[in-house]
């Protein structure tokens, strides 16, 4: 067995053990962090591996979240079909916006994705009779179960989050070592050269973005399913910034960076929101400090300095 796979399995085993070791409050937090880490892993596929700095991933997160929550609330679907709706909805949204946004590059790409996400957020507000706008709506406990497992219980929720996290981590771990993942990295490093070598750069960027958006959408759907709430605030700008923050902090282009970044940021914001209402101040300070002093993030720096095999 190779070292990256062994490391991933070790992390998954440690997370499984953590549920029985940690106090309830922290294992509850960790369930939330794992879902957010899945979101950040999806984001990392676009930003960290392909070099597509999107400022609008909240659109995909919200597409998954609303795909699940609206179809459960208004069409009375059960969890599994609703998850399929969320999967299709986020892949579709990512496919369409990706096809348009990828006609631009660099700064224009960031602004276009930001604009699309803003339009998505406003659309959620506009259809207030279905989405209840910023206030959002609660999914009743009775429908939040898969195959008889109650996803609103601490244990059901934690292990559902862990399964989603593990599947995503193993898929991404395999993907970025496969030829497809290698060409994404080649595109990030030097797009002109990748084109010259004969790769269909545009199509691969689109595929990466669709995969990234779909994973983000699954995280959004899982968030609604596990925590029983969907609201327009998850479609707003801060939710596009959070995955960027997690990935930058943990290390862009590392498989475990999103988890590390999500753990650090979650607790940093959790601690500071006990002190002040202005908890986003922490996010701002971390962003500026990272760009100034640690552009490769925690694991990126670790890999560069000491552990070159780190996936």
């Amino acid at each position: 067995m190779n070292r990256p796979l062994a490391l991933h399995l070790l992390v998954i085993a440690a997370l499984a053990a953590a549920f029985f070791v940690l106090p309830d409050y922290h294992s509850g937090n960790l369930a939330r962090i794992m879902v957010l880490a899945v979101y950040a892993m999806g984001y990392n596929l676009a930003f960290g591996y392909t070099g597509l700095l999107s400022l609008g991933h909240a659109l995909f997160f919200a597409a998954g979240m609303y795909g699940l929550a609206l179809s459960m609330q208004h069409l009375s679907l059960t969890a599994i079909p609703a998850l399929m709706v969320a999967l299709i909805a986020s892949a579709l949204v990512a496919g369409i916006t990706g096809a348009l946004a990828l006609r631009t590059r660099g700064v224009a790409f960031m602004i276009v994705t930001l604009m699309f996400a803003q339009a998505g957020y406003l659309t959620a507000l506009y259809f207030v009779q279905y989405t209840r706008g910023d206030e959002g709506f609660v999914l009743p406990q009775a429908v939040r179960q898969i195959a008889g497992v109650d996803l609103s219980s601490a244990m059901g929720r934690y292990f559902a989050a862990l399964i989603l996290f593990s599947v995503t981590l193993l898929i991404i771990g395999a993907l970025v070592r496969a030829p497809f993942g290698r060409t994404l990295i080649a595109i990030r490093e030097n797009e002109a050269r990748a084109t010259m070598l004969g790769y269909d750069v545009q199509r691969r960027k689109w595929l990466a973005l669709v995969a990234s958006g779909t994973i983000s959408g699954m995280a959004g759907a899982a968030y609604a399913l596990l925590f029983g709430y969907a609201g327009a605030s998850f479609a707003a700008v801060p939710y596009s910034i959070f995955p960027l923050l997690y990935v930058l902090l943990g290390g862009a282009g590392t498989t475990l960076g999103p988890l590390v970044g999500a753990v650090f940021m979650f607790y940093l914001i959790d601690l500071s929101s006990g002190v002040t209402d202005a908890y986003m101040l922490v996010a701002g300070v971390v962003l500026v400090l990272l760009t100034l002093f640690l552009p490769q993030g925690l694991l990126g720096t670790l890999r560069k300095r000491w552990v070159p095999w780190l996936p």
Partner: protein
């Protein structure tokens, strides 16, 4: 009110929006034009201008006009100095790399916004206008005796709003004269055209960048000082101007100054007219999507030139 007077009222309100927007967007455009930097924290400089205006006016506490004039001088200077400082301490150190600059300015956005929340608080606070007489406006209509003027009820504007339009025009003309007729403006344009060549000719490019970044922020602050007597100062007020300024700068062509003014008029007027007659949320959705499409299909802007 009939449709005609209603439309005229909407256009007057739109002209006020357009005047403020032209100033704010011009700040963003100057910074992008000279430095090729997208400043996501621009809306927060606007917000700081409004908050400082409230602070100056309420500290002086004399006649509203005194406080207002003091704010119009002090707020842009302070905000400009802060922006120049940010440029030197943050942006210069990351070498204006486009992606890292956006990430850093997103960070600055939250620092400025949340810092204001911690000090200024979550309440909206008003600033008294220096003068505020209500002027009824006439409207012409074909009556029984041919074309006649009449004064429809509700068709009026305050003298202060007219002043805002005039003041914005004066500031923009002054900026244009500064850019085209002074040595400092020449240096800025030289830096814009070719910063490496400008450096070779002994222009201190780093200083020019700090000044331009300060100037851009000061323009946003001026727009905000003009707007606080109409709209109260609040720590979240920077979001809408940022989005609208982006829209204006993109439609006008990134870095094109005349394009920015024309686009500000277009967007400001249509924003005023659309939000009188349609749902503001729907209008915003359509405007946002339209701008995204402009960037996708015509990235040089409606008025910008294709890159050589």
């Amino acid at each position: 009110m009939d449709f005609g007077p209603h439309l005229m009222l909407a256009m007057l309100e739109g002209a006020v929006t357009a005047a403020i927007l032209a100033l704010t967007a011009m700040g963003l455009s100057v910074v992008f034009g000279v430095m090729r930097v997208v400043n996501v924290a621009h809306g927060e400089f606007y917000m700081l201008g409004a908050v400082i205006a409230w602070f100056v006016a309420s500290t002086l506490g004399t006649h509203p006009a005194v406080g207002f004039v003091a704010a119009l001088v002090i707020a842009p200077l302070l905000v400009g100095a802060l922006a120049a400082l940010i440029d030197i301490t943050v942006l210069q150190r990351i070498g204006y790399d486009p992606e890292r600059t956006i990430v850093a300015t997103i960070g600055l956005l939250y620092i400025l916004q949340q810092g204001t929340l911690m000090t200024f608080g979550p309440d909206a606070r008003p600033v008294a206008p220096p003068f505020n007489t209500r002027l009824a406006l006439p409207f012409a209509e074909w009556g029984e005796n041919g074309l006649a003027l009449y004064w429809p009820w509700g068709l009026s504007i305050t003298s202060y709003k007219l002043f805002v339009i005039a003041a914005a025009a004066v500031i923009l003309i002054a900026l244009w004269l500064f850019m085209t007729r002074t040595r400092a403006g020449l240096i800025m344009r030289a830096t814009q055209q070719d910063s490496a060549m400008a450096r070779a000719f002994g222009i201190p490019v780093a200083k020019v960048y700090a000044l331009v970044f300060g100037l851009g922020a000061a323009l946003a602050a001026m727009g905000a000082v003009l707007v606080v007597p109409i709209q109260q100062a609040h720590y979240l007020m920077g979001g809408d101007p940022l989005l609208l300024s982006f829209i204006v700068v993109i439609i006008g062509g990134l870095g094109s100054l005349p394009g920015t003014v024309i686009a500000a008029l277009l967007i400001g007027m249509s924003d005023g007219v659309i939000s009188v007659f349609f749902s503001p949320t729907l209008a915003k959705i359509l405007a946002t999507l339209a701008v995204a499409m402009v960037l996708v299909f015509r990235p040089q802007g409606l008025l910008g030139k294709k890159p050589q």
